[in-house]
């Protein structure tokens, strides 16, 4: 077994999807491979921290949306395309994180909220996907209006084309 397969199997194992017969082979590989052992340790710690919401620097929904807004505000402005790439790359990355968090929040049920908020029914996005290549969906709830925004952060190249022209 090579390390590439081992890493794939470690991921499957952590998701509870690795068949028993493969688990023994994986254990055998891990016994002799410090690199894969370290990867498994690292992923396990990251998973625990993610579940506990302790990842430092993890953007909040508000921060991620603020960045998307900043990018949108500059749409149509005649600027060099470089900042766009950086901003939208960041926006896409944070959108992906927020998307996952939103999905997990929906999947696991809503977080406990203050009674006065809980009393008011809220819009729920069960799942979302985009068919556009390279694009990332993002779900954002505007706290003031209660409106839910399902936003497609398009691939950098396309956005840059509009921004720069």
């Amino acid at each position: 077994m090579n390390c590439r397969d081992a890493l794939k199997w470690i991921s499957m194992d952590m998701d509870g999807e690795l068949p028993e017969r493969r688990r023994a082979r994986l254990a055998e590989h891990l016994a002799g491979c410090a690199t894969c052992r370290a990867a498994r340790e690292s992923w396990a710690v990251a998973g625990e921290r993610f579940r506990a919401r302790e990842i430092p620097g993890m953007p909040t929904a508000e921060a991620a949306w603020a960045d998307v807004r900043r990018a949108l505000r500059q749409q149509g402005a005649r600027e060099a395309p470089a900042p766009w790439g950086t901003r939208l790359a960041w926006a896409a990355a944070t959108a992906a994180v927020i998307g996952v968090v939103s999905f997990m929040a929906v999947w696991r049920g809503r977080e406990p909220v203050a009674p006065e908020v809980a009393a008011k029914p809220a819009t729920e996005v069960e799942w979302v996907e985009t068919g556009l290549p390279g694009a990332t969906p993002m779900v954002y709830e505007d706290a003031e209006s209660g409106w839910v925004v399902i936003w497609i952060v398009e691939a950098n190249g396309k956005e840059k084309g509009h921004a720069g022209s």
Binding site: Q75, T123, V128, E129, G131, V149, I150, W151, I152
Partner: protein
């Protein structure tokens, strides 16, 4: 006369059963009206459109674009469960499938650009609270769809 009264008395249990059955049966779900509006948001000056008066200031606060142009709208009345297609103009359309209307209107939404699905989602909408779809670059701006169930 006596035979007639006996017949009525005999029918009473049947009438009572029918009344109870009707009362106990779940009420048929009311059809849902869904309205979709396609809006082009941009920073290029455009005349104010009265059709967007109710939402424009909120859109401006949420998105930060200066100008919002009404690009098209359509509404449909959907049975629950049921489906409809709303043509928004400019080659865009929404396919909606409403599956439930308790605790919000659970709707599967597919947003098409021609034959291409640009967005696929399932959302439980609260009545009269807009859900905003958007992010598609178009004509120097960005397309936004407001979706409202009533």
């Amino acid at each position: 006369m006596r035979g007639h009264s006996t017949a009525i008395r005999g029918m009473l249990p049947l009438l009572a059963f029918l009344l109870l059955s009707v009362a106990a049966s779940p009420a048929a779900a009311e059809p849902v009206k869904i309205q979709a509006t396609l809006i082009l948001a941009s920073n290029e000056p455009a005349a104010q459109d009265q059709r967007l008066d109710a939402v424009e200031y909120k859109l401006r606060r949420i998105f930060g674009f200066e100008y919002y142009r009404h690009y098209g709208e359509q509404s449909g009345i959907v049975n629950v469960p049921g489906a409809t297609t709303l043509n928004l103009g400019s080659g865009y359309r929404l396919q909606l499938q409403v599956s439930d209307a308790k605790d919000g209107v659970r709707t599967a939404v597919q947003w098409f650009r021609g034959d291409e699905v640009v967005l696929n989602t399932t959302v439980r909408m609260q009545r009269r609270v807009p859900v905003i779809l958007g992010g598609i670059s178009h004509g120097g701006g960005t397309l936004i769809v407001t979706l409202v169930a009533e």
